[in-house]
């Protein structure tokens, strides 16, 4: 142990000394890989890098970790603009992918043989405007919906709601029993968007061409009853007094604690959170279930799906061929399924054909399975179908959820925000 530590110390010292002494020269056998900084993502990235090094003697993969959220957007864009991006990088699929100008900045991967095994639903989210596929899935799909506390449901004899009215009557029963019916956590503003974004399955069920018309400046949130519903839901739960008292200051970590330990019954969230619950509250992991945001009719009920991040090859990198090999390696079932399950918690289904979820998945992931197995019970979130997502949505949903602004007004303001974003992207018809 001490021995190992000393050599590693020495290596660390040597490494930084080398960095000082000379500018790192491009070595054909060194591949740089820019990944995210979530614990599970880092563990998986390093495992992939190690496996790739083992499979290709002489190749070194340097894993670099970067921030998430808007800082990542700035960083990825500035590094792509200056041609200093790592050979392979991880970034969002969908509307954020469109915003990095993929036709110029990434390498076309349409004709790679491994594309055959990637599910079509993912491919369309990493397809540039000229129809070429530019990425491979890196991670698991997530469901957007409501995480609920199963022991509370059992205690009160409740059933998973299939309509919004049932959901509200469940909330009343939960409130009567003295628990918090709906958890909201506006300390992390992005968490406020779930009622609107995860309701997209219901929007699409009511208006199948909504995404297309929305992109073409024809459909609006304020004038579509189905799209308005998400804002209305937020207003309803606030007016009924179903929120936790500290909803304005609570954070994601608080929300997960409440739903896992039974302080609250419902928390609208993405299923990646099951991974965090598994680490922070391992004993409570199977107390947390999942259901989709219910709509008007019990016959139309399905989950909204978020695609995982994509793995892309930067077009200006010195090792494009090696980078392509790396992406092919990472997209193979041995890595994308088997290795990933080994090192990262399972939080949703895979997007590589032939990947099976293990038997002992957490209860919340098991609850997602029926949606995926039945036809027509899933829809991708709007941000994967349309390049436009207004940056101010989270501020508006916080306002509606706090009772500061009526739903109808927020929907109108969001349409305005969308218009600005579309103009900034230079889309036609705006």
């Amino acid at each position: 142990m001490t021995m190992k530590m000393t050599t590693r110390l020495a290596r660390g010292a040597a490494l930084s000394t080398a960095a000082i002494l000379l500018a790192t020269s491009a070595n054909a056998q060194t591949l740089t890989f820019f990944t995210g900084n979530d614990q599970a993502v880092v563990a998986y990235s390093e495992a992939v890098a190690e496996a790739f090094e083992a499979a290709n003697p002489g190749v070194t993969v340097e894993v670099e970790v970067g921030p998430g959220g808007t800082e990542r957007d700035n960083m990825v864009k500035s590094r792509l603009a200056t041609g200093t991006m790592s050979d392979v990088f991880v970034y969002n699929a969908g509307s954020l992918f469109q915003a990095i100008n993929p036709m110029q900045t990434t390498v076309d991967l349409s004709n790679e043989p491994w594309q055959d095994s990637i599910l079509e639903s993912f491919k369309q989210t990493v397809t540039a405007q000229d129809g070429t596929v530019r990425g491979a899935p890196f991670g698991m799909a997530m469901g957007g919906g409501v995480l609920y506390n199963k022991p509370i449901y059992e205690e009160l004899g409740l059933e998973v709601p299939m309509t919004w009215d049932q959901f509200m009557s469940n909330n009343q029963a939960v409130a009567d029993a003295g628990y918090v019916p709906v958890i909201q956590t506006y300390g992390d503003t992005w968490t406020s968007q779930l009622f609107v974004l995860a309701d997209y399955f219901n929007v699409q069920a009511a208006e199948p061409d909504f995404a297309e018309r929305y992109t073409n400046n024809e459909a609006k949130y304020a004038t579509s009853e189905a799209a308005m519903a998400g804002f209305q839901y937020l207003e309803d739960v606030n007016e009924a007094g179903y929120l936790n008292e500290d909803y304005g200051a609570a954070t994601l970590a608080d929300g997960l604690r409440m739903v896992a330990t039974g302080e609250g019954a419902h928390y609208p969230m993405l299923t990646f959170a099951l991974g965090t619950i598994g680490q922070n509250y391992p004993d409570n992991l199977n107390d947390v279930g999942f259901f989709a945001i219910p709509g008007d009719s019990p016959d139309v009920n399905g989950a909204t799906i978020w695609m995982p991040t994509g793995l892309y090859v930067a077009s200006e990198g010195p090792n494009v061929e090696l980078a392509k090999q790396f992406v092919a390696f990472a997209a193979s079932p041995e890595i994308a399924c088997d290795l990933q399950m080994e090192v990262a918690p399972v939080t949703g289904p895979f997007l590589v054909a032939g990947c099976e979820l293990p038997e002992d998945v957490p209860a919340g992931v098991a609850d997602m399975q029926p949606y995926f197995e039945a036809d027509g019970r899933t829809a991708p979130a709007l941000e994967f179908l349309s390049p436009i997502k207004g940056p101010n949505l989270e501020n508006l949903t916080v306002e509606v959820g706090s009772g500061i602004r009526p739903a109808a007004e927020a929907a109108e303001l969001y349409d305005e925000d969308v218009r600005k974003q579309a103009q900034q992207l230079g889309l036609e018809g705006w």
């Binding site: 530590m5 590693r8 110390l9 290596r11 660390g12 010292a13 490494l15 930084s16 000394t17 960095a19 000082i20 000379l22 500018a23 790192t24 740089t32 820019f34 995210g36 900084n37 979530d38 614990q39 599970a40 880092v42 390093e46 340097e62 894993v63 670099e64 970790v65 970067g66 921030p67 998430g68 959220g69 800082e71 960083m75 500035s78 590094r79 603009a81 200056t82 041609g83 200093t84 992005w190 994601l252 970590a253 604690r257 990646f272 959170a273 991974g275 965090t276 680490q279 922070n280 509250y281």
Partner: protein, 275 residues
Amino acid sequence: MNLIKRYWLTALASIVALVVFVTPFIFIILMAVKDRQQAALRDMSWPINFQLVENFLAVVQARDYMLITAYINSTILTVGSVTILVIVASMVGFVLQRHPTKWTPVVEFFVMAGLMIPPAVVPTIWLLQGIGLFKTLHGMILIEVAYNMSFAVILYRQFVATIPREMDEAAIIDGAKPLDVFFRVVFPMMWPVTVTNIVVQSVGIFNDFVNPLYYLPGRGNETVQLTLYSFQSQFNTQYNLLFMDILLVTIPPLLVFLFFNRQIVAGLSAGAIKG
């Protein structure tokens, strides 16, 4: 009674200072020794499981001893840039104050511009790439020097005015060459403002987060502030390890301050009398 009358304000100030400065520090220490579950609550509670050693090892060993590399990088970055800053800025301040020429207003304009105009990331990276200094520590040192130069020059310029000209003249009459005048006579007398510069700049550069994030990417190039990203992310934060890292990162600037604290006070009062 008399004692209370005399010292109540001092006592009150001490208590306020204790609450404002020591409470956050205690919070950091408590968080740093908790286990993950309890740390996720982020409250001011006594740790149930003491995990000082486990958390310390987890933070130091994270990502192949990245913290050690980061400490080395940050130390070189801080020491290197502060050394260059002090030497160059003191010379500029001295010349600007002692030898006004028609170029002085131009130089002063650029010094002020350095304070007022925010630096742009993309052109800076482009320039660094052009001269082959991008992603290198010495390139980063030059950036820190450039960004902090204006402030340091202004501090020195003001201070040189308080050193009597007769000192330089006496040295010249005694046969000192220009460099001797500066390094053996004037520079030692600037010690108080040099200490101020060292403390202010080294804390600022050591704590710099944004500039290394953009200008010094790459594995092995991390500075200590960037190691915080190993434990904090958008979706999943390990608060116990994050606070242990914060604790370890806070210690070096604290030591610098404790070490120089007496010097600052002594230096300031000495300068005041001479001035």
